[in-house]
Amino acid sequence: MPLGLEQKDPAAARAGEDEFRIEPTAINMGPSHPAMHGTIRLMLKLDGEKVVWADVEIGYLHRAFEKTVEHKTWNQAVPYTDRLNYCSPLINNVGYALAVEKLLGVEAPERCQYIRVIMSELSRVADHLTCIGASAMEMGAFTAFLYFIKAREYIWQLIEEVTGARLTISYTRVGGVTKDLPLNFGERFAFVAGKTREALAEVDALLSRNRIFLDRTRGVGVMPADRAVQYGFTGPMLRASGVDYDVRRNFPYLVYDRLRFEVPVATEGDNYARYRVRLEEMRQSLSIVEQALEGMPEGPVNVADPRVALPDKKDVYTNIEALMNHFKLLMPGHGIRPPAGEVYQAVEGANGELGFWVISDGSDRPYRVRVRPPCFALMSGLEEMIVGGQVADVIATFGSVNMIAGELDR
């Protein structure tokens, strides 16, 4: 029987107690709900419009990523990483490749490292555009959503020109990337960056001082800095709470230490602060890509190590050594075989620290791949952010977390 319809105790009613008190109502949001991006279930208890209790239930998009890749070769795991954070799949690819390379003790060539930075930052912009656009739309700002999704479309077209796919890109390989950037990439990026900056300026003008948007976001879903640290928050959510931590700067990987960028930090820890931080991060990311394009050297995009990278197709068809090398890398039981050991490699994903804890037993398949999804820590703190607020703000706060069920449930 629903809680709201419970029979009152007649004795208590006679005594005049609780006569006008309304029992809290239990409601269920999700797992299939238009505002629950992906699939997640919230059970709420409401006193009028106020949330008095919440329970977050995850796991609806669990597809055994970690179990599956234990049965694939090292490079076969790459397409599975695309599906972790499907808003910025390139960052997952890069994180996984870096972890395996650390195990192998190889380093991708410099040009490849620049390309990985460029593609990671493009993905970050696309991810933040989706997050702000979608959460603004859920608060009724449909125009911002349209502008941002249009800008994201330009970025995806650019990503498609490089990788051949919009979303399931599988762009990196252990020791490199599948292909070099197209020749006109610089011009194309300049066009896309222009369009994205236009959209950023327009949405900034539409939302940042908009009365309704301010009322819906300021002071809503507040997470103080000490609690954010307790929960292991990272990324824009942590920086919006006033803690200055960014993997790209604190533990530089690839060539981030050669690029100049600022890490935006806000102090309020509310939904508005997260919106501001994400907006500024996109501008920084575009500038990082511009710097990387300037500094990018010519050269190969794959390591020259025959134990790791496939030989050139032209050589495979014309000489026996390359043919043998090709087969040695692709036959079951051969392939890439990192020495036994384990590494933890973190990269700055769009939502925060994306960590790969990879264990190798010396065979051609990973012994264990553990993904530390940034959303997981964020979602464990969601309950604290929504209890005590209005039921309508649940959606606004949930939108600002930018939960991606693909990486949350793996």
Binding site: L3, V52, E66, G232, V343, S360, F376
Partner: protein, 159 residues
């Protein structure tokens, strides 16, 4: 062994070590970035125990990371909970329980998190076969009223 270094701690000493690392002003490992388990059942070289739980810590004060690792036996693997030190450990420990069956003593709500309650076995253990079928479970109500009632009782009387 290749890769990142880890400090291996015995299961009995773990709680004290973690509390020291977090609370001592000289170390200040305020972040628990990750808590994950692994099963070494089929690992070629011998390990001190079948299971291992690793804690990836980060100290903003030292600007350093540290991996603390504890090995556990095959029978009744259990560790003291870290959820009193880091609130984020709550869900990570639930996942380690769900996937590997490692108990965390003193955990406030040690339930499955990614799988459903009726799931049999622990899916990421190396002896759990890849294609194993699970029994069907009966359909449930959209809202688990019993759970809501229990939870609200707990919320109103925290004892």
């Amino acid at each position: 062994m290749a890769g990142s270094p880890a400090a291996v701690v015995s299961a009995g000493a773990l709680a004290g070590v973690l509390a020291f690392l977090k609370d001592d002003p000289e170390t200040g490992f305020a972040f628990l970035m990750d808590l994950a388990a692994a099963d070494y059942l089929k690992f070629p070289s011998p390990r001190p125990g079948r299971f291992a739980v690793s804690y990836q810590l980060y100290s903003p004060k030292l600007g350093a990371r540290l991996c603390v690792k504890a090995y556990l036996p095959a029978e009744n693997p259990s560790l003291p909970t870290a959820s009193g030190l880091w609130a984020g450990a709550d869900w990570f420990e639930r996942e380690a329980w769900d996937m590997y069956g490692i108990r965390f003593e003193g955990h406030p709500n040690l339930k499955r998190i990614l799988m459903y309650e009726e799931f049999e076995g622990h899916a990421l253990r190396k002896d759990y076969p890849l294609g194993r079928m699970q029994p069907l479970v009966p359909m449930r109500d959209a809202i688990d009223y019993e759970k809501v009632r229990q939870q609200s009782r707990r919320a109103s009387n925290p004892s």
